[in-house]
Structure formats: C-alpha cells, structure tokens
C-alpha cells in the first residue's frame, strides 16, 4: 500500500516542474512578440521540449501525458492575452503530437470553455492567423479532444491549504477587468433598467414637474461605454509605446504570403478584436463622452474637438483624480477596487465627490 502511495505522489511531484517548463517556453514565446507557429517551433526545438516525455515508462506515460496536457490547457483560456493563448494552443498541439503514450492521450475540453475557444478561433479568423486556425482545425480533425464536463477529473480533493494557482502574471492581458465588468450584456441590462426606471418615474410623478426625473441621466449608458473605450484606447497606446521599441527586432520573420501584411497591424487587430469584440460598436458614441466630460465641468458645447489633441493627458488626469491615487498610475488602473470608483464617481452627478472632481479638472486645465 505504501508503494502505491509513493507512486501516486510521484506523478503529482511533476506538476510544478512541468508548469515551470511550460511557463518558461511561453515566456520565451512572448518575448518574440509573434503568433507564428514557426517561431514557436523554433523555441520548442531550442529547448528540446519533445524530450519532456522521455524517460517515462509503461503506464506512467499515460498519466504523465494527462498531467502535462491538463497543465498546458489553462494557457488556452482567458485571462491570458491573445498571444499567450496562441502559444498555449501551439503547446497543446505540440505536446499532443509528441507524446509517447499510444493511443495518444486526448486534450480535455470542458463544455464551459467551448465558447472561449470558439471566440478565440473567430479572433484568429478576423486577424487572418492562418496557422492558428489550421492547427485548431487539425486538432479537431485528429480527434485530439475529449469533449468533457470539466477540464480535469475531479475527486473531491479538498485542500487544507489553498494552493495559490500562481498564474503567470506576465501572461495575463493587461487589466481587462473594466472590459469584463462592463460588457455588452451589462450595458443591455443597464439600458433596460434605465428605461424602466425612467418610465416608472415619469408615470408616478406626472404632476410634480418631473423634478425627480431629472435625477436620471439619459446618456448614462453611452457614457459608460465610451469611458471603457477610452480606457482601452489609452491602454493600447501604452502597449504600443512599449511595442515600438522592439518592433524592428521581431520583424524579420515574415515568410509566407498571407503573413506579408504588417505583423503589427495584425497583432493590434487581434488584441483589439479579442478585448473589444463585443463593445466595438461603442465607438460611435464617443461624442457623447466628450460632451459628458464637459458637462461635468458644466460647460456645454463642442469643446471636445478643441481638446482632442490632449486626450491622453486629460484621460491621465481624469483617471488620476478619479482614482484618488497619487502613486503609480498603472498600478492604480489595474486594481479592481478602483474601477468601481471610476464608474461610480462618474455616474452619480449628485455625489459630493463630483464637486471636488470639477475642481481638480479645472486645475488640470
């Protein structure tokens, strides 16, 4: 019995080195700033990653394949950035192809993750990443998936100590929390509630000159949308600034005709479509936000256009003051608690902080 215990423990012992190896591979892939399979396979070969299966014997092969596929599966899903998810897909494909168990151990795909994978495929399609789509199709063609209920087998293993999942921070897409929180569903819901509340309010208080109806702001939803849009634009600009530095290094990789179009354009398109696929149509309501901004300083008028040159600064200032954080700007933006502040402060015109906000806004001008 003790032998049994050791053996089961053994395979579990590999979990952390396996994760480390995968993360190492993906971090190298991330540095190249590419989503090409060619780049991935080059790193794979440099690391001799196929050898990871070597040295397993008999039935251990199968349990090890299971372990490593389960570990790698997580990289295919959010919250990781598009590039890491592509890397995760390549990793799964390569692991599946080079495993030593026969018949090969399949990749477990959970029903709840299907939508993510579908969306991922669509993003890749939109950005014309042929190799991504081809490999995904190839996996399906080879029946590499177990269509299952959960990503891993569950044995009600409750842990006394909560093992922190320790997701690799660098792989996670920058602060997608605002986008996540304020998605198209929420906006729709909000519109409904808003309309309902408006009609209710007006039906009740017909006589009283609609004074309480004035508490409702008609453009709450457009404003919310455009704020998130603005945040994303600012964020991607930050990202683009970083990218510009090492753009030249990574550009020597274009090879086949479908990849000749600008890599960077693809990358940006893919990131955008990934992060913003849902709220993309919010762009048209940008005008509202600018008007809205002016509204907060109670100056109505098309001031927005004159300020367009300094959007970044104003956003920075705006973010700064609504976060009420003096420290690192980026830190503040990513933390979730401040996001609620960002929203709530903006959208409660009767709140006291608004006054202070106006003052700050005045000051920054």
């Amino acid at each position: 019995m003790s032998a049994k215990r050791c053996r089961r423990g053994e395979i579990e012992l590999y979990r952390s080195p396996v994760t480390e190896d995968c993360e190492h591979l993906l971090s190298l892939f991330q540095k190249t700033d590419s989503v090409r399979f060619e780049v991935f396979s080059k790193i794979w070969k440099e690391m001799n990653f196929s050898h990871i299966f070597h040295g397993t014997v008999k039935h251990e092969k199968r349990s090890f394949s299971r372990l490593i596929l389960d570990s790698a599966y997580g990289f295919l899903l959010p919250p990781f950035s598009f590039q890491i998810r592509v890397g995760g897909l390549y990793l799964l494909y390569s692991l599946f192809q080079s495993q030593t168990a026969a018949p090969p151990e399949p990749i477990r795909l959970a029903l709840k993750d299907w939508e993510h994978v579908k969306k991922f495929e669509k993003d890749a399609m939109d950005a014309q990443h042929m190799d991504v789509i081809y490999i995904l199709r190839q996996l399906r063609l080879q029946r590499a998936f177990h269509f299952s209920a959960t990503p891993t087998r569950l044995v009600f293993r409750k842990l006394r100590k909560k093992e922190s999942p320790a997701l690799c921070e660098n792989f996670i897409e920058r602060a997608s929390r605002p986008q996540e929180l304020i998605n198209i569903d929420l906006l729709e819901e909000l519109t409904n509630v808003h309309d309902l509340y408006g009609t209710l309010k007006s039906s009740v208080s017909e006589t009283s000159e609609n004074s309480s109806v004035n508490l409702i702001r008609d453009d709450l939803i457009p404003q919310l949308r455009s704020t998130v849009m603005d945040f994303h634009k600012w964020q991607s600009r930050q990202g683009a600034a970083d990218e510009d530095e090492d753009e030249d290094e990574g550009s020597g990789e274009g090879m086949s005709s479908q990849q000749e179009c600008s890599r960077r354009a693809q990358l940006i398109a893919s990131i955008k479509s990934k992060a913003y696929g849902e709220a993309a149509e919010a762009r048209k309501s940008r005008r509202h936000r600018q008007v809205e901004l002016d509204y907060t300083s109670s100056v109505a008028g098309p001031l927005g256009s004159s300020r367009s040159g300094r959007t970044k600064l104003s956003l920075k200032a705006r973010t700064n003051e609504s976060l009420l954080v003096l420290g690192d700007l980026y830190e503040g933006v990513t933390s979730s608690s401040t996001i609620s502040q960002l929203c709530s402060l903006d959208f409660k015109p009767e709140d006291k902080p608004k006054d202070s906000k106006i003052k700050v806004l005045m000051k920054t001008r």
Binding site: S50, G55, T56, M130, D131, R140, V155, E189, S257
Partner: protein, 379 residues
C-alpha cells in the same frame, strides 16, 4: 457570459473550483455538446486529410502553394528535436537535461538504477489493465458503442475502515456508458463483504455452505442528489433506505425521494461531477461513489459494448496471511482457540485442518471457526 451560464444550468461549471461542479442533467449535457459540435468531431472514422486541407484552403481563400507552405510549417517535422536518422530512446532520460521536469526525472531514474528489484508488482498490474482497456474494437458492429454516447468515469471507494484512509483512498474505477442503469454499476462493484459466509462451522468445516452474503441479502441503494435508488430486482429485496428517509423526515431535513435502481439510466441522473455520493449494501457496508468525469466517447476508447462496465483501476490491498505458514492467504478465523497464538487468529485452509482436526477429521479441542474472505483475495 455570466448571464448565459446562469441561464443554462446544464453547462457544468465549478461549484467549488477544482473540487466539484454544480448540478447538471447528464442527458442535457450530452445534447449541449452535440449541438455545438459537428458530426465529424465525435465520429470514430478518421477523416481524409487531403480533402479537409482542400476545404480549409477554399474556406480561407488561400492558394494551393500557401496551403502547402502552411502544412510544412505546421507539420510534425518542425517539432522534431533530433536528427531524423537518430531517434533517441524514449524510455531513457536524455543526458544533460535542461528542463526542470527532466532534471527531476533523471534523479528518479538514477535512484531506480540503484534498486535491486527493478519491477514493481503494482506497475505490472497497472500495465496489464491498461493493455486490456484501450482501443478495443468489437468483433461485430452490433457491439459498437454509439458515436456521441456518454462515458462516465466512476470511482467507488472501499469502505473507510482503513486507518490510512486520510492518505490513501483505495478505490476501483469503472467506465460506464450513459445508457447503463445503476443496477449495472452495482453488479460491477466487487466488495469483499458480499462474499463473506456467515456462521460458525468448527464441527463440520467441509459443510460450510457456498451461499455468500450477496445471495442472502440482496438489498442495496445508491444515493445521488436527494434521491435514494433502491435495488428492487428480486422479490427478496427490501427497501433499506426507508429508515434513513423516515429518520430525516422527523428531523427537519430536506425531503428525500426514492426511485428504482434498475429503472434509472445514468443519462437520466442529475449529478455534480466530483461530489461524493453513497452506495450502501449488506445493510451497512457503505462506499463513497464519485463520478469523476463525464464526457463524450472518443475513437480511442474501448468501443466494445460488451466490455462495459470497464474496470480501469483497482487498488490492490495487502493480504493477511495464515498465522502458521505465512504463505497462504487466511481462509478461516478462529476464536477461543487454545492452539492459536492470538485471539482471533487467521489460518489458511491447509494449516487450519492440520492443526485442528485429526486424520479422521474429528475436531480437537474447543474453538469456534468462521470462514473468512480476505479483502485482498481478489487482487
């Protein structure tokens, strides 16, 4: 996304992350999957590579040249880490590994090389079992498992009488199809308590009957999500769950319902994956039952219907040997026995008869003897 998940409760999501899922209906789960997939995804037949490549090129609007290039880029050769003509031995860790996994495995391999015994009996059993279960094809098409059928992975744990239960969870794992009934699962569970023979037979050891407890006491039930599924296949079967239900009724518990084990298929069940449920037989022999996995069939599964329920893992329990010879597994247990070094004491059949009976088969001295089946007897 969150809203759509809530709306559809048959898409399993975690109730507690990595512990168990929320409750869902297995048949609806199957339908959900099949609605999302194309028939090809669950087919057992391999698809033609060339035609699918052509389809892909057409769909994407790329030329044949580009397609060919894409294929080379994504081919397996691009992943090979060694020259084509010198494949390394996959059973040996390559020298000077850099991957953390391999460094650890190398240590293990070096340690193994220092051991005198190279083969572990448990490894042999596990290898054997794997050989028997993977990729079996039926002889006739009638026995073929249907495409898109549900496969359940069920762990049935041994009764928790072990001191070490906190560290090891001895269990058997069986694969079942969604179309199986719970009664078929019951028949697949082999518990040593079903095999015991009750009674004292010191006066006539040859007369010990062959009736085992399973034939005497046929009642059993499963418990899944508030429903007791009783075995009512035989006229002798009793409703053993009613005691619990009545007891719970008086004590303000949620009401439990009953159903028949033999009429309930797995696809009809509503369960949580990873959540412990109960199998109880012989009145009080209780096993935990955990459904660890629910998924669609795959072409590499065992496709022969007749081989299901399919045993894929069995915990081998250490056996208790005869107190005299220390070779054979105990078959008799005696009490108040003055020949025995302990009370109670285990004997194999041979030693038991030699020690306790003369050549004519007459009982020597006073003692009680009970037939005994070791829990590891069917390893």
């Amino acid at each position: 996304m969150a809203a759509s998940k809530n709306a559809n409760t048959n898409i399993p999501d975690y109730e507690y992350t990595d512990v168990n899922t929320n409750i869902f209906h297995i048949d609806s789960f199957k339908t959900e999957w099949l609605n999302r997939l194309q028939p090809g995804d669950v087919s057992f037949q391999p698809e033609d590579q060339d035609s699918s490549d052509a389809l892909f090129a057409k769909e994407m609007g790329i030329s044949a040249d580009t397609m060919a290039e894409l294929k080379t880029v994504c081919s397996l050769d691009s992943l090979r880490c060694h020259p084509e003509d010198q494949p390394p031995d996959p059973d040996v860790v390559p020298p000077d590994p850099t991957l953390k996994t391999l460094i650890q495995r190398k240590k293990k391999q070096d340690y193994r090389a220092t051991l005198k015994i190279s083969k572990n009996r448990h490894d042999l059993y596990a290898d054997e079992l794997e050989r028997l279960t993977f990729g079996k094809k039926p002889e006739t098409l009638d026995d073929m498992v249907a495409e898109g059928e549900i496969i359940l992975n069920i762990n049935v744990y041994y009764p928790a009488t072990f001191e070490k239960f906190c560290y090891v969870r001895p269990h058997i794992t069986v694969l079942m199809m969604g179309s199986h009934t719970l009664a078929e699962l019951r028949d697949a569970i082999c518990c040593v308590n079903d095999l015991q023979v009750c009674g004292e037979f010191s006066n006539m050891p040859d007369m010990a009957p062959d009736f085992i407890s399973k034939d005497h006491f046929k009642s059993a039930f499963f418990y899944f999500e508030g429903v007791f599924y009783n075995d009512m296949r035989y006229p002798e079967c009793q409703d053993t769950s009613i005691t619990t239900i009545e007891w719970a009724k008086d004590r303000n518990f949620p009401t439990y319902t009953q159903a028949k084990m033999e009429d309930t298929r797995f696809v009809d069940l509503k369960i949580k994956v990873g959540f412990p449920y109960l199998y109880c037989h012989q009145g009080d022999c209780e096993h935990l039952v955990i459904i660890t996995d629910v998924r669609l069939t795959h072409k590499d599964d065992c496709l022969d219907k007749k081989l299901y329920p399919l045993l894929t893992h069995k915990h081998r329990v250490s056996t208790q040997k005869c107190a005299v010879c220390h070779v054979y597994i105990g078959r008799w247990v005696t009490t108040n026995d003055r020949f025995a070094p302990s009370n109670p004491c285990l004997f194999c059949d041979e030693c038991f008869r030699m020690l306790h009976y003369d050549t004519e088969g007459n009982k020597l001295g006073e003692f009680q003897a009970f037939p005994y089946v070791d829990r590891g007897a069917f390893n």
